[in-house]
Structures are given as C-alpha cells and as structure tokens.
C-alpha cells in the first residue's frame, strides 16, 4: 500500500464530481472491516456526537433507519471503500450497528426462500 499523499491524483477529470476518498477519511485508504455491500447498518444514537467527521455525521443521520452499506454509499455519493473506512471509526465507538446478510449455505431451512417467493408474488 502506498503512503497517503495529498498531492496524489486519485481520480481524473473524466470521473466527474467524485469526492476523493482521502478527503473524507482523514487520509486512510483501507478499511479494517470488509462488510458486505448489503450489510444492514443502523445508528445507535439519534444524533451524531460533535466530534465525528462531517461525513460520519451524515452517515449517522442516514442510518436512523436500517440501510444497506450500498444504499448509504449511494446516498452519500461516496465509493463503497470510502464508506467502509468511515464505518471503522463509528463501529469502534459503538455508534453504528451492522447486520451481515443471510448466506444461502447457513440458512437452517427454506423459510427465507419461501418468504422471498411469497414477497415477490405479492408485489
């Protein structure tokens, strides 16, 4: 991994108005967690503490209702990897709770499949 370098160009002009990951993660490029794109997040508090970074505060406000990691990234307009870095700090402080998705192999029976099929039929 390269050292964080403020002068390094992460995204070229063609990428459009994408926030440079380093700009919102305090220079950290790599998250400690590897949450699934559909891991469900929820804030444990109804308002962010004063000392979190602005993007982390936005994440806490977004997660007042359960949202998937990918939904948070989409609403914040940040890449998934950047949101994972933001999450590290929030998880460490117990400000956000995470629920990883069901894995087919670990399901004890067909009840999730049956619920999904019935749910789709009802659409």
């Amino acid at each position: 991994m390269t050292k964080p370098d403020a002068d390094q160009r992460w995204i070229d002009e063609d990428a459009g108005p994408v926030v440079r990951p380093y700009a919102v993660t305090g220079g950290r490029a790599k998250a400690k967690n590897y949450f699934n794109v559909v891991a469900i997040l929820i804030a444990t508090r109804s308002a962010p503490p004063a000392d979190v970074a602005p993007e982390q505060a936005k994440l806490i406000m977004l997660c007042q209702r359960p949202l998937a990691l990918a939904e948070c990234a989409a609403h914040l307009g940040l890449p998934l990897g950047t949101v994972r870095v933001l999450l590290d700090g929030l998880i460490d402080r117990g400000l956000v709770r995470v629920n990883e998705p069901h894995q087919a192999a670990n399901l004890p029976d067909d009840s999730v499949f049956e619920a999904l099929i019935n749910g789709l039929r009802a659409l």
């Binding site: 992460w10 559909v38 990234a73 890449p79 990883e100 998705p101």
Partner: protein
C-alpha cells in the same frame, strides 16, 4: 420521537438482507430488470479500484497507477420488516472481476440475462458463476425485433448443464421479471436439497 443521545442497542431488531445478482452482456437489460421489480428507481454505487486491482497488464510503476471507478446499479425490495432483497446489476464483464467477487460474496444466486442476437455476450457471466459455484438461471430477454429461439436451442448454444433453468422474459415488465426471480429462488432452494417437495410456494 427518539431519545436524544440514548443508546438504542437492543431496541430495534435489524432486518437482514439477501442479494441476487443480475448479470449479462452490455445493453442486455440488467438495469431495466432491476428497475422493473424494485420499489424505487435503481440506485448507483461505486467502487474505486487501482489499476493493479483490475487484473490487466500495467507496465508502469506503482507510483503511476491510476484509478478506475466501477459503477453498480442496484434496487431494493422490502419483503418484510426483517427481510430485504437487494438486486445488483453486475458491472461490465471481463475487466472487473474484483468487483464481481465482492458482489457474489453472500449472494443467493444470479440471473444471467441473454439476448439471442448476441448470445456469446453472456458466456463470461455463465463461466464466472459456474466456476464460483453460484446457482444461476438464464433468462432470455425477448427484445421486440429479435428472432425468437426455442429454449432448447438457447440451452444447447450456451452448453448449459441440464439442471440450469432457461426461461423467456421481458425485462421491462415487473410480472415477467418477478417470475424470473421466483424461478431462480426455486432453483436455488432445490439445489440446497432441503426442499420437502419441489412444489412452487403460494400460487
């Protein structure tokens, strides 16, 4: 409404998500299908990759590495208070396997959308899911002006295992896209070997 600064731990049971992928060649209707069944317009999320992560030759030094942004469209179907289904359209084939790995992780299964005018476009998706052991179905998106092929012709042309379901669909239609997803779920359920009897659920 909420207790300001209070800890909500334990107060709100979190829903659990499941994920299904929608794959296939460029322009085959992946985002169309995601949008047809999702409860709102598909969202887009991005993964930023360095060239080293993309799996193509890069002759330049590490300090000169560039980045690529890979966009993924996805939609949501809230099944109940405790179960949410997410549908992810896979990004362009061939270059972004790193992102495919990330998306496939924890996925229940995949829909491979095929266009009979460009059947070969879905080979990389089929190869990928076969190698990864992720159950999938092939859904032939019936474009208005495309010649209709029989399902058996498509199965032969794609050299599919006999147990892989092949179906026709119209990715623009909610009803049709729903049927494809239900077909996939039934296929995945059957493959788990846990079904009491292979009967469709509900009616």
């Amino acid at each position: 409404m909420d207790y300001v600064h209070s800890d909500r731990e334990g107060q709100m049971p979190l829903p659990t998500a499941v994920k299904i992928l929608v794959a296939g060649g460029f322009g085959v209707g992946k985002t169309t299908m995601v949008g047809a069944v999702s409860e709102s317009k598909p969202l887009q999320t991005e993964e930023v990759l360095t060239e080293r992560g993309i799996g193509i030759d890069n002759t330049s030094g590490v300090e000169a590495k560039s980045t690529t942004t890979v966009a993924m469209d996805f939609g949501r179907i809230t099944v109940s208070d405790d179960l949410v289904l997410y549908l992810f359209g896979t990004p362009g084939q061939d270059r972004f396997w790193f992102v495919w790995d990330e998306l496939s992780f924890g996925a229940l299964g995949a829909v491979v959308l095929a266009d009979t005018r460009r059947l070969a476009d879905c080979f990389p998706s089929i190869d990928y899911f076969e190698r990864r052991g992720l159950p999938f179905v092939v859904a032939v998106n019936c474009f208005d002006n495309a010649r209709r092929y029989g399902l058996e012709e498509v199965r032969r042309a794609l050299d599919l295992d006999p147990d892989v379901p092949v179906m026709l669909c119209d990715a623009r239609k909610r009803q049709s896209s729903k049927e494809v997803l239900i077909g996939l779920l039934e296929h995945v359920m059957k493959g788990r070997g846990l079904t009491r009897t292979p009967q469709p659920v509900g009616h």
